[in-house]
Each structure stands twice: as C-alpha cells, then as structure tokens.
Symmetry: C2
Subunit: 218 residues, 2 copies
C-alpha cells in the first residue's frame, strides 16, 4: 500500500517523535511504501496566502477559494503545495499524526490542510464534488493523536466533551467531505505524562494496529 | 470597554476586510477602546516552537506544555507572544474574526491561540484552573465568522452538521475553558458570493450588533 504520513510535532525526542518512528519501521516491515511529511522538519509554512497562486486570476483582490478552483485546473500552485499534492495523489492511505492542541490540530497541521487540500483538489463545490462524489474516493485516511488530558475529560459527559466528536470536524468535514474512507482514530490519552513502561506498551499496540492495516483500507 | 480584536484574512479588500473596518468604526463611535491584531498584516507566525521560550527549563527535550507553565510564572515568552498577551490581559472583551476554513479557524488564527493562550496564562491544569476556575473569568469573548457554504449545509441535519456545534471546540473548549463568558457567535453564511446590496445590509446589521454590546459582556 502507498501511505502518505503527515506528522507534526516540534520535538523529535518527544513521545510523538518515537511514535512516528515506530510507525515508519512497522509500515516498512509490512512492505508498504511510505512518504513522510514531517512538517516541523520541513519548516512547512502553514499560512494560506496570495503567493500560493503564482498565476493569479484576479490580481486586484485575492479570493482564496476562486484562485484555488482555477489553479486546480492547471496545477499552478506554489512549489511547496504542489510537492505535497503529489504525495496525496500518489497515496492510498493518508495518516495524520499530531498532538491535540485545544481539541484540534496544531496550526502547522491545520495550515497543511488549508493549503494542500485546496478547493478543486479533493472536493469541488462548483461541480458538487463532495462526500459521496468527493474527489478522493479511492483513498482512506486515519488520525493518530495524543492528548495531555485524561480520557475522562474527553468523554461524553466529561468537561471537554467526547474527543471523537470534536475530531468529526476533521474526519467528517474534511476527509469524508473529500470522499475518503475514514479509519477509526487512534488516540493515546495522557501521553505527556506517560511512564517509560506504559509508553513502550503504547508503541507496541500502535505497531500492531499498523501491521493490521489492510482489509479496512479502501 | 477595552476590546482586543483579533482578525485573520489574507485580503484587505475582501468582505472580511470591510467587515473588520465596519467593526473598528462602530466600536470607536461607541467610545470603546480597541486594540487590533491583524494577523496577516503583522505577519504573525502561527508555529509553536522551542524559541517561543527564551529561558528553557529543559534544553534537551522541548515539551511545550511544561515550558509554557514555567514561562507563565516569569513572563519569559518570545516578544511577539508577550505583546499579544499584554493585549489580552488589558482587554475586557476579545473578538475573533475569521473566515471558516474547513469548519474551523485558518491556521494563522489557530496558531495565535496555540502560542498566545498558553498553559499557565488563561488556564492551568497544574493548579486545576479551568472552566469555573479559569484565569480569564473577568473577560468575555465572541466569534465573528463567515462561510462560503450556505446555512443549510451547516445546520443540524445538513451535510456538515451545525456550525455552532463545531465552533464549541473554540467557544467551549478554549474560551469557557479559560473561564471567559461567551457571547453568541456572529456568523454570516455564503459571504464569498454575497451581492453588494446584501453585503451593505450585513455590515449594517453587524454594526448594530456591536453598538448593542454592553449588558451582555462580563
């Protein structure tokens, strides 16, 4: 299987860094091809802006939606966006790994979504290509994330509410919106205060989850 | 009233730009003091990173949570964060205006939240300061946002689900988490395809909403 692994954490020596390394080894062991986007290491710029569109349709007023729809016909996006788009096109499965910052993605990951998964690429409101008719129907996606807070706080009835509900803003409104199949999110709670032993167990469990990928992918 | 107006849109000549200008005029007309953070104009860097903490507690491994908790005791944050924190401390009301990108904030706004509203500043899990005991109990907050998609798509039973539910990730899990009172979100649907006449009506309605601010603020 071809896997694009999009990863965001500012510290290579973190729990997230080790989790990502575990994943890369396991996926290669299983014979999958993997392309990694390590957003911090790449110094990925998360800010959507006019220069994302080198062949502006309207050079007076910048309308990101209309420029993206036009650019998606010709491929005229900035080079860093084009490079990421090529990985997405190539992949059967997209895995996104990040720590939860305020129930959602860190800004650097949100910006990858904002800029790379542009209108006209994975979805197109102009041609009504969304959900059942999304443009990424042949792809699957999976979130892998860690929290500082315990599971109780992130459960139905907990103070923050069910984390899986919050993640629907991504799994439903981004991935399913683009037609992708969504695999169950892989969440590790309280990762920031995890012990070495518990951490090793988590790495092994995650490895087994990845080795088991197959029939559940599109 | 002292108002910090945090605004994110890449194009000053956009509907969002005009909406923000309308707000600044109306709020000053009413006698409020306003400090604007125009994130695109400031070239605000949304990426949380080790250099946000000039006096690192642990210089070997960067743990954003622990560094923020420590820095919040001494104020040792990077200058751009400190500057924004001063505006927040000063303000009675925080208004956040942005276009919806994938049911949430553009990355540049998410990064302002990630970096400025740091652990130890508005909330502190170590001292159980959150929600009823959040550190911003004397402040109010309000979201002002625009969508490309029509209201039907963003309603209960619509394809994306109720936008107000998605926004709870911000209004509840960020603003209320920090103890702030949350004013009803001000949402303008289908702003990207709005006519000039309808736009002028929307500016007037928004102006009236802002002129009416008062009793509902903390």
């Amino acid at each position: 299987m071809k896997i694009c692994y999009v990863y965001a954490h500012p510290e290579p020596k973190s729990f997230n860094g080790a989790l990502k390394d575990t994943a890369l080894v396991a996926l290669k062991e299983k014979g999958h091809e993997v392309k990694l986007s390590d957003l911090y290491a790449m110094k990925f710029d998360p800010v959507l802006k006019a220069s994302d569109f080198p062949e502006r349709k309207n050079s007076e007023v910048f309308n990101p939606f209309f420029e993206a729809i036009k650019a998606s016909k010709t491929g005229a996006f900035a080079p860093d966006i084009r490079e990421e788009m090529e990985k997405v096109k190539w992949a059967d499965l997209l895995i996104f790994q990040f720590p939860i910052y305020f129930t959602s993605m860190p800004a650097i990951m949100k910006g990858w979504i904002d800029r790379v998964l542009a209108p006209g690429f994975g979805f197109n409101p102009v041609t009504n290509s969304a959900y059942d008719t999304g443009l990424f129907k042949e792809k699957s996606s999976m979130l892998v994330t860690t929290t500082g807070a315990p599971k109780e706080m992130y459960s139905e009835g907990g103070v923050h509410g069910d984390l899986n509900k919050h993640l629907e803003a991504i799994t439903h409104c981004i991935f399913e919106y683009m037609g992708m199949k969504v695999l169950p999110s892989y969440i590790i709670y309280e990762a920031s205060s995890i012990s070495k032993e518990k951490g090793a167990e988590e790495f092994e469990k995650y490895k087994q989850r990845l080795l088991g990928l197959g029939a559940d992918v599109v």
